[in-house]
Amino acid sequence: MNIHINGKAYPLNKGASISVSHALTFHFSEPQKSTFAVALNSDFVGKTDYDTTFITSGDSLDVLQPIQGG
């Protein structure tokens, strides 16, 4: 089973559970200074909740950054 971060699959054992903070280490190769925000299964997760919000297989994480817009 997998979790998905920005559409990319990462393996996670069935029944396993990891924090959002842990999951973000799959996405980022180094500690982040960049600007981003997170949604889990299309629900916003605030930065203060990264350590206490947990992800299981089948979940989907979106990590978004600023971009130009009209």
């Binding site: 920005n6 559409g7 996405h27 980022f28 190769s29 960049s34 600007t35 981003f36 925000a37 997170v38 949604a39 299309s42 629900d43 916003f44 605030g46 930065k47 979106d62 990590v63 978004l64 950054q65 600023p66 971009i67 130009q68 817009g69 009209g70």
Partner: protein
């Protein structure tokens, strides 16, 4: 006269987008040349190997600092109230503003706002403390509902996003102005020419939000200045009081003692 957006007084009545410019340098020059103090931006999925996103964010922060302005994040790409609410919350955390340009698109062909989802999202966001600037069609009743929900600012379209077709339905837009005299009305989307912006201001609109018309010009910096001047001209024309149209011709030059007057 200053434009007031949710209590913030702004010197310029132009709100400007940050997309589609030939380069970040031209974007910065054009936005600063426009005099605008409100710059729209958005969010996208992050690619950790790509550095350009952080670079753009740095540019935008510089622009806001230099213009003493404000960021206005949008919810572009959202098709449901739930998506828009989530994106608004993510934007609030990143950009540290409770302003949100609320877009909920109902049709992929002309990017027309979905009025039902828009109203639902507006209600939820206002309850959560957001200051909502809704992008909507030029439908009087939808604008009225948005105002009743607590939107101090309403942003009906001139025409579909990016078309440059200008004011498709001036009657609708004039009626919205007439019926919502206390709302801050910003004409958003579809503006193509400086004269479009001037026309909106002559109608008594409080401001104009545009992006493509400047970003896609051959010379975006010059076009930004042109729009700035057009907005000022339109605003002054509205304040000065535009003459009533008349059905028949009236000579401008006095007719008394006209030479060579033909007596018949």
């Amino acid at each position: 006269m200053p434009l007031t957006i949710y209590g913030k007084k702004l010197d310029s009545r132009l709100l400007i987008g940050s997309a589609l410019y030939p380069s970040p340098q031209v974007m910065k020059q054009a936005i600063l040349a426009s005099g605008s103090q409100v710059v729209t931006l958005s969010l996208k999925r992050q690619n950790p190997t790509e550095k350009s996103g952080q670079q753009i964010w740095t540019y935008l922060q510089d622009i806001i600092a230099e213009s003493n302005g404000y960021l206005l994040p949008n919810t572009a790409g959202c098709k449901t109230a739930k998506e828009a609410v989530t994106l608004a919350k993510m934007s609030r955390e990143i950009f540290k503003t409770d302003w949100i340009k609320l877009e909920v698109i109902g049709d992929d062909y002309n990017l027309q706002p979905d009025p039902i989802e828009l109203l639902q999202a507006t209600e939820q966001l206002i309850a959560d403390g957001f200051k909502v600037l809704p992008y909507c069609t030029d439908d009087l009743v939808i604008c009225q509902r948005l105002y009743d929900l607590g939107c101090e600012v309403i942003m009906p379209w001139a025409s579909p996003i990016g078309t440059g077709k200008g004011l498709m339905n001036p009657y609708n837009l004039e009626t919205i102005r007439l019926r919502l005299p206390d709302a801050t009305l910003i004409l958003d989307a579809g503006i193509g020419k400086p004269s479009d912006a001037c026309l909106a201001m002559e109608m008594g609109y409080d401001g104009v939000l545009l992006n493509s018309a400047i970003a896609l010009a051959d010379n975006p910096v010059m076009m930004a200045k042109a729009f700035s001047q057009a907005l000022q001209a339109g605003e002054q024309g509205y304040i000065a009081g535009i003459m009533e149209q008349r059905q028949t011709a009236h000579p401008s030059t006095p007719t008394l003692d006209t030479p060579f007057w033909h007596q018949s």
